[in-house]
Symmetry: C2
Subunit: 515 residues, 2 copies
Amino acid sequence: MGSRNHRHRIALRKTDSVLGRTSVRESLVPYTQVSMADSKHTTLQSEDFDRWYVDVVRRAELADYTPIKGCMVIRPYGFALWERTRDALDAMIKRTGHENMYFPLLIPESYLAKEAEHVKGFAPEVAWVTQGGSKQLEERLAIRPTSETIICSLYADWIHSWRDLPVLINQWANVCRWEKRTRLFLRTTEFLWQEGHTFHETEVEAAAEVDTMLDCYREMAEEWLAMPVISGRKTESEKFAGAGYTLSIEAMMSDGWALQSGTSHYFGRGFSKAYGITFADRDNNLQHPFQTSWGLSTRIIGGLIMAHGDDAGLVLPPRVAPIQVVVVPIARSHEAEGGIVEAACQRLERETSGSVRLRVDRREGIRPGEKFAHWELRGVPLRITAGPRDLADGNVTLVRRVDGEQSVEPLEGLAARLPDLLAAAQRVTFDRAKQRLDDRSVDVKDLDELKQAFEARPAFASAPFCNTTECEDQIKAAVHAVGIRNLRFDRSASGAPCLVCAKPSQHVALIARAY
Amino acid sequence: MGSRNHRHRIALRKTDSVLGRTSVRESLVPYTQVSMADSKHTTLQSEDFDRWYVDVVRRAELADYTPIKGCMVIRPYGFALWERTRDALDAMIKRTGHENMYFPLLIPESYLAKEAEHVKGFAPEVAWVTQGGSKQLEERLAIRPTSETIICSLYADWIHSWRDLPVLINQWANVCRWEKRTRLFLRTTEFLWQEGHTFHETEVEAAAEVDTMLDCYREMAEEWLAMPVISGRKTESEKFAGAGYTLSIEAMMSDGWALQSGTSHYFGRGFSKAYGITFADRDNNLQHPFQTSWGLSTRIIGGLIMAHGDDAGLVLPPRVAPIQVVVVPIARSHEAEGGIVEAACQRLERETSGSVRLRVDRREGIRPGEKFAHWELRGVPLRITAGPRDLADGNVTLVRRVDGEQSVEPLEGLAARLPDLLAAAQRVTFDRAKQRLDDRSVDVKDLDELKQAFEARPAFASAPFCNTTECEDQIKAAVHAVGIRNLRFDRSASGAPCLVCAKPSQHVALIARAY
C-alpha cells in the first residue's frame, strides 16, 4: 500500500496545475490523475490512517456522527452496503437451517443477572431504562447488549422434549453497549447485527454448529467482502462472557492491524442450567440442552473500508457494491456528440437491467473529472467512460477501481461481459488483500523475535503458545498494544516450545494489534 | 362469517365421536371435519373474538407474550410473515425512489422537545434511558417513539440548496411507545415498522408524496394482504402530533371493527422551521423545505389475522404466506404404498423448487388429521393430500384453505398449475373480505340512523360530515366506542347535510369502531 500511496502523491504534484488550467479530455486522463480532486480533501492513508478512515466514511456518505454520543447515522450508501452484506449472510443463515425471529429490546435486570459471568461482563456497558411514560419503573430495564438472557428465559417455556431440538434461530436487531471510545462502524454505542442462538441435544451437535457458523462468517468475509481471514479459537481471557469457548475470524486491515470480524460461541450447558431449560431426552431423562450463539455486526463494514480502501477512498468488492458500474458520459457543446453518447448510455442501461447494478451519472454542471473522483471515493468497482472519440470507433474506456487497470472495450457485447469483468475485479480485490496478509505475516519463536516483528510496522505474528494466561500476559507486556487474536485452526505447534515459557505447545497463536 | 362459524360448530358435534373412534381415511375427510381437532382448543371466533385472536396468534406460533410488560416475541412463523410483508413494501418504497438509512435509537430529550405539538403528543408514551453503564446521564434519552426529531436535526446540516432536494428516505426500525393496554401485534410497547421521511422544495410535491405513499400502503394491503381498504384523510383531532394533515387506510376486520393499517402525514414546514432546516431556492432565497412522513408497522400482521382468520385459525393470502402449499403424505404400513406416495412428494418438491413455497409434512407419529389441523391453524393456502388410493389413478386431493373448496387433481402438471391456483386463492381471499366490507357498509343520514346501523353489530357507516370537532364529538357520544376513521377519498357529500348539524357538507365520514 505504501508504494501505491507514494505514486498517488507524486501524480498529484505533477498534474495539479494541468487540472486547474485546461479543460481535460477525460477519456485520456489516467486513473491516478482523476482521483486528485479527491485527495485534496481526504487525509492520505499513509499519513494518518485513523483520520483517513473517518474522512472516507463521512465524505463517501456511508455514515456520520449524531448528537447522541457514540451513536452513528448510517446514510443511504452505507446502508445499501450493509443491506447487501445482511442479505447475503441471511441467505447463508437460512441455508443452514435457521429461522429468523424477533425478541424484545428491553430486558429486566433480574433476567440479565441469572448467569453470573455474563452479567459481570455486560453490566458495565448497559443503557438502562428507568422511566416509562411519566412513571418510575419498579425494575430497571436493560437495552439488550445481546439477547441470550431473554431468549433463554423464553425457551425455558418452549422446550420440553428432544423432539423440540435442535432450536436454530437468529435475529437481526439493534443492540446497545455503552462504549467509552467510539468510532464510526467499528465501535458504536448502538450497532446493528445478527445474533444466532441454538439449542441442541448433544455436545457434539452444538460444537458442530459453532464450527458451521464460523465457516459462514469466513465465507461472508472471503467470498463476498473479499477479506481473507484467519479462523481460530479465542483464549480464555478473550472469550464471550459466559461462554465455554469462543471462535473468531480475524482479518488484516491495510495498516496491518487486525479486526475481529465475527464470533461464534459454544456455551455448553451454562446458560441452560442458569435459566432452567430442560428437555426429556430419548430415554425420558431430564437434561439441559447444549447452546451456542454467534454474531456479526455493522462493524464488518468498517473492516471492509479499512481492508480495501486507498487514498482515493473506498474500494468495494463488486458482490456487495451498491453500484457495480458507473457510466460517465463525456459530451459537451456538440449536439451530434451528445446523441451518440446518450445512446450508448441508454444501451448499457437497457442491456444490464436486472443483471448488473449500473448507474449513469448524468448530473449536469459537474465536470467529468469531479465525477470520476466522486465515484472513486465511493469505491465503485468499474467505471465506464463513454466519450464521442472512443464511441466513433464503437468503443468505451473501462477503468477498474481496485488497481486502476484501464482498457478500451467495444461497446458491442460489453453488457454481457460485465459480470465476468466484475468477477475478475472481485478476485483481484481478494488477491490484493491476501497478498498483503501474506507479506505482513511472520513466524516468531520467542518474545525477542516478536518485538522485532513489530518494530517496522504492525504485523500478524504467529508463534507456538502454551495457552496459559500467564504467558498471554507476558506477550501483551512485550509489545505495545498487541494481543492474541486467536489460536489458529490452520496451524499446529506440534510440541514446539511456547514463545514465552518454552514449554511444548500445541497451539499457534496469532498475535497482532487489533481494532 | 356468522353462518360459516355455525356450520363449523354443527360439524364438530356430528363428527366428534367418529374422529375419536376410527382410523380415518384422510383423503375422504371433508374440510369441515379435519379442522375439528383444532376447534377443540381454539376459542370460536363468534363466541369471543378477542380471545379467538390471542389463541390463534399464540397457537399458530406467530408471537407470544414475554416477561417484559407490553413487549412481544415474534416467533419464526410470524416473523416469516412479517419478512414477506416487509420485503414487498421495501420493493415499493425503493421503486418510488426512496433509499433506506438507519438513525439512532436514542434521542436526547431536548431534541424531542423542539416541535411543541409533537412532544406534547409523544412525551407521555416515551421510555427514558437515564443511566449508561454505571453513570447517571446528564440528559435523559428517549427510546425513539418515531424519528422526526432526530432526522430533522441531522438534515439541518445536510440540506443546503434546492439541488439537495428532494430527500426521499426510509428506515426499518423498532420503536417504543409506553402503552397501557397492549395486545399482540396490534398494540405493543415495542414494535417494528418502517418510517419514511421526505423533504421537498414545494408544497405540491410534498402533497403528491403523501398521496403516493398512501397508495403504496393501499397496494400493500389490497394486492398482497388481500385486505380491501378505504383511503381518506384523518380529522384534526386524529392527525399525527405535529402534522398538517394525516391520511390513512382503514380495513374492516371480520368482526366489523376497523383497523388503521398505514398512515401518511403532510407536515408542511412546521418541523423544518422548528429544527432550522433551510435551503437556497432556485432564486437563491433561503426557504424551509416541505416535509412528509409515513409509516406501516407489525400492526398490519394483526390486521391480516383478524381480516381473514376463521374458527380453524389463520387464513393467509398466498403472496405473503411463508408456506403456500403443504403436502400431507398418507401412507401407513404398506411398503408399496409408501413408495408411490413418497415418489409423488419428491416430484412435487422437485417441480416446484424455486417457484412455489411448498413443504411436505413428513413428521412421524402424527396422524394426517392432526397434520391437517396443524396447517389449517397456520393458514397455509393450499393443502395437497397425497394418498395411495388417489395416486393409483395418478391423482392427489387439493383443498383450498380460504373456502374449503376441494378437488381431485392429476399429479401430472400440477406443479406448473400451482401458481395459477395460488393466484385464484389470493383472489378469493380478497373477494371474500370485499364482500364482507360491502355487506356491512351502510350509508346513514343522521345520528338516529347511525345508532340503528350499530344496533345489530359493528358496521362501517358513511355519512355527510361538516368536518368540525363539535360534530365529531357528538358522533362519538351517540354510539358507544365509534369514531370517525377518515374522510373518504372515494366519496363526496356534494353539499348534503351533515349527519349532526345538517349544514351543507363536502366530506363523507367513515364511522366505525376501531382497534
